[in-house]
């Protein structure tokens, strides 16, 4: 079985900007994959190279085993891309846009699938509205719909939830999850790290065009983030305790691996005679992983 996406040693330079620097990445069929990184990291450039919108200077990219240059027809038929920019054709209605997009992929009898997409994205009532008349969030939905008209096995969404309300986020992810369960490979970029943490089973982090972390979400959380007991105390902590924690904004944070350590910690604090004003348990989260990975020196390909 060929990989859904295989990216090998791909580099791309725009003038003096090295947008992609020898990127290696493989996404297996059926995965829900997250591509994360700060603004300008190269996420969109990588997606564009995959979609044939940008030509890589070197390296090779395949979609379901089809080279995006040499075998571009097959590669593009297998790929659906939701672009980051909110673009639309003001000449057409929603349904016309979707029918035309189907036609570009050589599909003419697509009405039942179009209806299904419209229904699933909450667009059914807007089917005959002109694109110009839609709100930003509605246009975003159409953009997602357009990427799906040809039932691509690999779906790439470039920040699909930017500027989108809670309701659409939930509808959208529910639909995308169903597609994933039905066997579609999903690749997602987002700046909402909670979203990525909940959805993606594996994550790559990009920084200045390089892959600086690549692992399952669970492993990343384990490696870079921990549980922590966070508390505010009346009065200063003794040095012996402060050594084990870190203070910021009046909150002390004590990392721990197992919950039995919480008891010991609390006992030590009580023994030191400190009063606890506020207390919570911080779970490992992707945001912390992200911050740590981005602060750290580039470590090349993690594996």
């Amino acid at each position: 079985m060929s990989a859904a996406i295989r990216i090998q040693q791909v580099s791309k330079r725009f003038g003096s900007t090295q947008a992609l620097d020898r990127v290696d990445l493989e996404v297996q069929q059926g995965e829900f994959f997250g591509l994360l990184g700060p603004n300008g990291a190269g996420k969109t450039t990588l997606i564009s190279a995959l979609a044939g919108l940008v030509r890589a200077d070197s390296g090779s990219l395949t979609v379901m085993g089809h080279d995006v240059q040499g075998d571009y027809r097959a590669a593009r038929r297998h790929l659906g891309v939701v672009p980051q920019e909110l673009v639309f054709d003001p000449f057409f209605t929603v349904r016309e846009s979707l029918k035309i997009q189907s036609g570009y992929f050589g599909i003419s009898d697509n009405d039942s699938w179009i209806d299904e997409i419209l229904e699933n994205l909450g667009l059914a009532s807007k089917a005959n509205a002109n694109m110009r008349m839609l709100s930003g969030g509605m246009k975003r939905r159409v953009l997602v719909a357009q990427a799906l008209v040809h039932r691509p096995p690999v779906i790439v969404l470039d920040e699909p939830t930017a500027g989108v309300d809670v309701e659409l986020r939930q509808t959208l992810w529910a639909f995308i999850r169903r597609l994933n369960e039905a066997g579609h490979t999903i690749v997602l970029t987002t700046h909402y790290l909670e979203e990525a943490e909940n959805l993606c089973t594996r994550i790559a982090m990009l920084k200045a065009g390089r892959v600086v972390a690549l692992d399952t979400t669970a492993n990343l959380l384990r490696r870079f983030s921990v549980h922590a007991l966070r508390l505010r105390t009346g009065g200063a902590l003794p040095a012996e305790l402060a050594r084990d924690g870190a203070e910021s904004g009046g909150w002390w944070s004590f990392p721990f691996d197992g919950f039995d350590q919480v008891e010991t910690l609390l006992a030590r604090i009580r023994a030191a005679g400190c009063r606890i004003d506020d207390l919570e348990i911080g779970k490992p989260d992707l945001e912390e992983v992200f911050v740590r990975v981005m602060q750290g020196p580039p470590q090349g390909q993690a594996n």
Binding site: F14, S48, A51, G52, L53, V54, R55, Y72, R73, A74, R76, R77, L79, V81, P83, E85, V87, F88, D89, P90, F91, I100, Q101, S102, G103, Y104, F105, G106, I107, S108, D109, Q146, H150
Partner: protein
């Protein structure tokens, strides 16, 4: 069932101008009609060309000028709009080859040119006795001329990053070439120097050959015109296809 994306792209490009036909078809027909009214009023009775009354002589020129200008306008404005708004990605993401891309945009331009040209003809032919001496030339030059300007429109639409760059292309290249091509006069009435200059303008051959189809007489032989126009079309096709193949400005 799968077919090629070409037919849909062609359909979409035709639909695009047809949906706003008042701007893309009716307006240019009206413009041509105004030219006819003004020029024929001023010059009818003063000028006879190839033994043809001036108004009759002018009509095919206006028709062909409309074909050419609208063919150019169609592909160039469609592409620049798609680029500026970003919706060009909808055409770049599907499995459409650069050859299909080229053919769709050029053919849609020809359709627009022919539709407007027909409109101008219908609006003007009853102003003067018009003959259709050798109709095949009419068709051949309309189609080839439309394709040439459609192709130029593709080049301009891809090259221009902004609307004013496209306007410059139009004002400094397309307009002079079409106006200085014998639409309003026979180049035989020009001083020798300007006659020579006109012979270097390919649009002159398009209009001259086109007019030959109506009257059976022209400044140049229609076969010479066919050769020049055919060579231009071949050259532009190769040039444009090469741009598209390289992904110039479309696929960075």
């Amino acid at each position: 069932m799968r077919h090629s994306g070409f037919s849909t792209l062609l359909y979409k490009e035709v639909l695009r101008f047809w949906k706003v036909a008042s701007q893309t078809v009716a307006a240019p027909v009206l413009t041509a009609l105004l030219y006819l009214l003004i020029f024929s009023h001023v010059l009818e009775g003063h000028v006879k060309v190839h033994g043809v009354a001036y108004t009759a002589f002018l009509i095919p020129g206006l028709v062909m000028m409309s074909v050419l200008q609208n063919a150019f306008a169609n592909s160039s404005s469609s592409l620049i709009q798609s680029k500026v708004t970003g919706n060009i990605v909808f055409v770049l993401l599907p499995p459409i080859s650069y050859l299909e891309f080229f053919l769709a945009y050029v053919l849609a331009s020809v359709v627009r040119g022919v539709v407007v040209g027909t409109g101008v003809l219908l609006a003007t032919f009853w102003f003067a006795p018009l003959t259709f001496a050798e109709p095949w030339w009419i068709l051949v030059f309309a189609l080839m001329g439309g394709a040439i300007l459609g192709s130029l429109g593709v080049i301009a639409g891809i090259w221009a990053d902004k609307f004013d760059q496209l306007a410059a292309f139009q004002n400094f290249l397309i307009m002079p070439l079409t106006f200085l091509s014998g639409v309003f006069y026979s180049i035989n009435s020009l001083p020798p120097f300007w006659q020579q200059v006109s012979h270097w303008n390919p649009v002159f051959y398009m209009i001259d050959g086109f007019r030959h189809g109506f009257f059976g007489v022209s400044d140049a032989s229609p076969w010479l015109s066919l050769a020049v126009v055919g060579a231009c079309l071949a050259l532009l096709t190769v040039f444009t296809l090469n741009l598209l193949k390289r992904g110039y400005k479309l696929r960075a």
